[in-house]
Amino acid sequence: MRLNVSSGQVVVPGEPIADVSYEVHGPCVASGKEYRAKVLSVVVIEKAKQVRLIPLKRAYIPSEGDLVVGKIIDIGPTFWLVDINSPYTALLLASEALPRLAPQQRELSEVFRVGDLIAAKVLSFDFAHDPLLTVKEPKLGKVARGLLVEVAPARVSRVIGKKGQVADYLSETLGVELIVGRNGRVVVIGKSPDDEALAAYVVTRLCEKPYVEDPFEEAKKLVEVARRRWSA
């Protein structure tokens, strides 16, 4: 029954968190009778006996079902190569975007060209193979307009919030459509460039701090701040 940390504390790799009678979520290793932090993180004590470690920095590692915003970087014979802001470059197979089998390469570039931005979902990923994407669902595919905001992948989850609460709130009050890629790329699509700039400002500010306790409240505050600035 030993807890070595307190809420809001920063832990370095190798630092003991608590003994194994605690439940520790986040990047840690059990070594002997205790949990140790694996990466530089912030500690949040959620309940008695339950601790969460929130990494302060993290590269985006694809996970099945993630919505990502990718950039087409190359066209292969039957696939597009997509940069998803991750150490692993993704593949979008032609069969995921074109109806017919074995399409010509020329046809591929008629759908997505190098430099295009796409919203896609991760179909599958294991570390032995490159991640595969799909655009076969509604709202996926080429992002034709909008403003791209790049934020840290470790912090993008606060733009989404619990059950998409923050993203819904932002798009409703600011009158924009939000595509929040888990890979740290957020696209804001609004009716006017002003709307987009305001939303982009809020998203950027929301991801500035290393840790935010209540993203929903923080988002509300930032919208206030942004509105005042824009009206002035």
Binding site: S7, V12, L40, K57, E213
Partner: protein, 250 residues
């Protein structure tokens, strides 16, 4: 009495040239996250040494054929700037010494990193010695570990290093440039401070069995102090922001 090289490195009252006691380290200051463009970075001042470390990764491996199927590729480059040394300007081309030090630093850091976490990726560590005054390889390791942690690389523990030398027949902690040059021996040691495992141990000069055991003990103590400074650097970088944040919520 003077050492084998005939240069006097200790005063009559047993102090070293810079006034330190034999077991005393130079002043050490570490700062984490000093560079904006790198994924992680650190700056260390150990006495007159000034070293900056930048870490990039995990990222895709270039050239691609160097990627390892089952683990992350760690690459280190230790390099001294032309104006880093006291005597003549150092040629900017990598010397044999720098190539070797790059390799031993990589091998000293590797055991601390969970390399299997991100297969087929690489982490690049660039170490630039701005000013050198002895023990740069261990100071580089100390700073590189901080930079790796700052980059969010999963690690078992940090790594810190110190050199133990022999001057006028006595063991001394943390050799300066002069002591390294004219002393009778130099033994750089790096360890994972919490796990207590040695990840680097080299030596030139002659040491008896007893001296090696004693050197390890001296290194262990110095490394614990360096570890405190490493932790302080990493925590301070974020704690200030977090303290303000949590205070605001209440």
């Amino acid at each position: 009495m003077t050492g084998a090289t005939g240069v006097k490195l200790l005063t009559e009252d047993g102090r070293r040239l810079d006034g330190r006691a034999l077991s005393e380290m130079r002043r050490c200051r570490i700062e984490a996250g000093v560079l904006k463009n790198a994924d992680g970075s650190a700056y260390i001042e150990l006495g007159r040494n000034k070293i900056i470390v930048a870490v990039y990764g995990p990222k895709e491996v270039h050239p691609r054929h160097e990627a390892l199927p089952d683990r992350m590729l760690l690459r280190c480059r230790y390099s001294m700037l032309p104006f880093s040394v006291a005597d003549e300007r150092k040629s900017p081309a990598p010397t044999r010494r720098e190539v070797e030090i790059s390799k031993v630093i990589r091998e000293a850091l590797e055991p601390a990193i969970f390399l299997e976490e991100f297969p087929r990726t690489s982490v690049d560590v660039y170490i630039e010695v701005i000013e050198a005054d002895g023990s740069t390889r261990v100071a580089s390791i100390t700073a590189a570990a901080v930079a790796l942690a700052d980059a969010g690389i999963p690690m078992r523990d940090l790594v810190a290093g110190v050199s133990i030398g022999k001057i006028e027949g006595k063991l001394a902690v943390d050799l300066s440039g002069i002591e390294d040059q004219y002393g009778e021996g130099d033994m750089p040691i790096a360890m994972m401070p919490r796990l207590g495992e040695v990840t680097l141990m080299q030596a030139d000069g002659r040491f008896t069995r007893e001296e090696v055991a004693q050197a390890l003990q001296m290194a262990r103590e110095a490394i614990q102090r360096l570890y405190e400074e490493q932790k302080r650097a990493l925590k301070e970088r974020y704690s200030k922001v977090l303290a303000a944040e949590l205070g605001e919520e209440q």
